[in-house]
Symmetry: C2
Subunit: 496 residues, 2 copies
């Protein structure tokens, strides 16, 4: 078989595909883009096995694999004796997730034991480890650059054998901070290595940011729904969350936020995830980011930007960070490498505007500096062109998995189910028929070996109890398809 | 040269010396123990070069190196034409550090910007990196098992290539927690792997412990002087330190503590370092530990035990932890591997008695789980007999370095200087003539390329301004000897 890139690679404008992907996957991706762009419309006939072999110089088995892969993903249907045809995607018929009522009065800001709720779900999932776990937000380990990272780590140790036994530089490894600062340019952020504080994941960055600008008893405005980890952190710091209505399409309602700031005098910070919000998956339009930054500056409320996901947005141009519009240092930007580079390295970083010195002090007083070993390993790899290739591949895989899961959900879940498929990331936010309890779905699914995140943990209220968050970080397999079929059955049968 | 262990190794009861130490060092250690035990008394004549060669089957150069090494350390003096004689150690003449007045009224508990003081010293030391830095508390990297750890790390990656790219187990790696629990038996602590929470160093453990039992505004009783890192942490958490008089021989005054608890109703925790207190170096007698634990239990004040150093105590039997006397779960025990295993791995752990669940929750909300990579590497190495050999060697090296530094200080510093040489650890606490400012010594020393820790940072008061803490974690060299001579000169010349 010809190991040169087949002609379709040259014929399209997509970047050179990563060599690790087998040919049939690359060929399937080629046709998938054609379907998604409309070049191939529902009902169109796909090239035959023979056509594929001839046009792309691939073997019979590769051609067959390509067609089956697209069929399994729900993109094609086989009609007996006439070949494969592009299907009308089922998810085209599914309605998007509903919009919040931005005029409804806000909940009194208080903490209501979100910790116990979340811990309870985590503990139950641990006791009864599900065979198919869709509750987390991390990708399958094999979607990362396993070998290259391992080799970078070993190289780091070989080159500096006393890395493990030497004290660490106090603000993190300089090379790593340089690499991070350089990459931040992708999101439009211009900083130097000295502006970066390395942290144990984005979660430590969020903690430091909150502690830098607020204290126990203070109220913090957050999106609703929001990442349960943020609610836990707020609760553990004794701070109160004020949930602001958030659109599944455009993010936090800036009008509602402004009203809240005026109404409640004591809001000490706003925390948002402008890109690929967790759990909604939405990306805030640039005009909203600009208005949000301006509002916070005008009202002298620090804005904490959580950017754990932006490198996972579809396409090759990352969305801009809200930080880009920050003129006065009022935005604290927190990022993570755990979703994009490697979940096991626990690396995050932040740049803190006018709170930089205070954040450095808090970091030192809490966990000192991060290990250098992981930082040097990350810098080795992230500084090479392989990292961009990895990111493109990861985004491609996620997109495919996401579409396939959405397709399966559209096929298996009751027709009142609503779903907006996000333009990137690892999560799907599914709106179930109102009245259905995500807690009941969680329990019934767990009994059948399936882990899900119940909507109820994404708010201090019960407002999102009829939602589920499902992870699409794992390759779409027959088992996963069957798990979604079971889950659809559970949703169907549970009393509403 | 005979590479078998020379006969002196078999003739003594000391454990098999680590193979990494050159023969002359092992021979020197042999004679050093004889001097320290009194078998060789001041004034006794040492065996000649020829005697050494014959008795120990060593070469001429090894015999010469042995004698010079002991001479450089201040243990022998050469008398022209008659050979080497055991010296009266100079430090025998130096008085121990003074005792505190336990009846003096306590300072009002408040925070006075210790952060800025410490940061200022750290920043100045960073700007003007000293050639000889005695200000830290870590050992030279080469005193650790550089190669063995590096190999354990590489093995971990080879055996589990996706270690870096997989999500981490939520409470830390089980094998590591098992190893840690097993080793805790050395300090008399009986726990299982499930009782252990892995942390980013002892400093994170202290933060978690404090946050578990107290909140901003609360008062915490601490030793005086105490580790400046604890004062920083308290300040960053908005807590107040109440400094309790602490004896350089026996640790915190339990009488003064009891009085303080009765007087100030609002003491929410007591933090102590019973073994090798920082900066004093003292080890609390077991009877004191028992009384302290009982007092805290009786008064329902949680006791936080900081045990960063006990594996560095001289001898092969580790002192007991105060936790040993804990019957009700009122003691939170915090430990570190950064001083004993490897400064670059940032590993610590804790066991939290009745606050275990709360600590787990706080750890999760702050930094999630630690990376598994370091934990597996540490478990690999700590589970092997090589770790005990490393610890014995490290303790031996530290003891020698400590004695040599004490000798040099006794020789070079003005005669009013006081010093208690601790029975283990990495630090020496030097009392300068009263009226001399450690801040001035710090600045003058830095100008001459020497880093020291000024006593003033170990308290929120100025009470310890006429003290210095010097690190004895680095091998004693001619440069170090000369640096101490310079430092002695600075102390001599500064106006008191
Ligand atoms: C929105 C958001 N912020 C922060 C985090 C925590 O990131 P890290 O794993 O880097 O601590 C997550 C993880 O799921 C997240 O979804
Ligand atoms: C008494 C004491 N506790 C805690 C620490 C911090 O330990 P770690 O480096 O494990 O965070 C130190 C470090 O110097 C110390 O001396």
């Amino acid at each position: 078989m010809d190991m040169q890139p087949p002609p379709f690679a040259a014929a399209t404008a997509t970047p050179a595909p990563a060599p690790a992907l087998p040919i049939y996957r690359r060929l399937a991706e080629h046709y998938l883009s054609a379907i998604q762009s409309g070049t191939l419309a529902p009902g169109d006939r796909m090239p035959s096995v023979r056509d594929l072999m001839r046009q792309h110089h691939v073997s019979l088995s590769t051609a067959l694999q390509t067609l089956r892969h697209l069929e399994e993903g729900g993109w094609l249907e086989a009609r007996p004796r006439s070949g494969y045809f592009v299907r009308q995607p089922r998810r085209a018929a599914i309605r998007p997730v509903g919009e919040p009522n931005v005029l409804a009065p806000l909940d009194p800001a208080q903490y209501v034991g979100i910790h116990e709720q979340v811990s309870d779900f985590i503990a139950r999932r641990q006791l009864q480890a599900p065979a198919i776990d869709l509750s987390g937000m991390s990708c399958a380990p094999e979607l990362y650059a396993v070998e290259a990272l391992k080799n970078a780590a070993i190289r780091a140790l070989r080159e500096q054998p006393s890395l493990l036994t030497s004290p660490m530089p106090i603000n993190g490894n300089v090379t790593f901070r340089q690499v991070v600062a350089r990459r931040a340019l992708n999101a439009g952020i211009r900083i130097g290595a000295d502006d970066v504080v390395v942290t144990h994941g984005c979660i430590e960055a969020l903690n430091l940011a909150l502690r830098a600008v607020a204290q126990a008893g203070d109220t913090i405005a957050v999106e609703s729904p929001t990442y349960f980890g943020l609610l836990q952190t707020l609760e553990s710091l004794g701070m109160r969350a004020l949930e602001i209505p958030t659109s599944p399409q455009t993010g936090i309602s800036i009008e509602a936020l402004e009203l809240a700031i005026q109404t409640y005098g004591n809001i000490k910070a706003v925390v948002v995830v402008p890109t690929l919000q967790n759990p909604l998956g939405c990306i805030m339009p640039d005009s909203h980011k600009e208005r949000l930054v301006a509002l916070c500056e005008r009202c002298a409320v620090p804005l904490i930007e959580d950017d754990a996901y932006s490198e996972l947005a579809d396409g090759d141009v990352a969305p801009s960070a809200a930080k880009v519009w920050d003129r006065s240092g009022n935005v604290i930007y927190c990022a993570s490498l755990n979703k994009v580079l490697a979940p096991g390295m626990r690396l995050g970083w932040m740049t803190s505007g006018k709170w930089h010195e205070r954040v450095k002090m808090l970091k030192f007083a809490y966990t000192r500096a991060n290990e250098e070993w992981t930082q040097i390993t990350a810098a080795n790899y992230m500084g090479s062109p392989a990292y961009d290739r990895h990111l493109r591949r990861l985004r491609g895989n996620l997109k495919e998995q996401r579409e396939q899961m959405a397709e399966a959900i559209a096929g298996y879940f009751p027709s009142e189910t609503r779903l907006s498929v996000p333009d990137g990331g690892v999560g799907l936010w599914v709106e179930l028929p109102r009245g259905l309890s995500s807690k009941a779905v969680f329990a019934a699914a767990l009994d059948q070996g399936i882990g899900v995140s119940p909507g109820v943990i994404f708010s201090n209220s019960d407002r999102f109890d009829h939602y589920l968050r499902l992870c699409c970080g794992k390759p779409f397999t027959h088992e996963l398809d069957q798990a979604l079929r079971k889950l659809g059955g559970i949703v169907e049968r549970l009393p509403g």
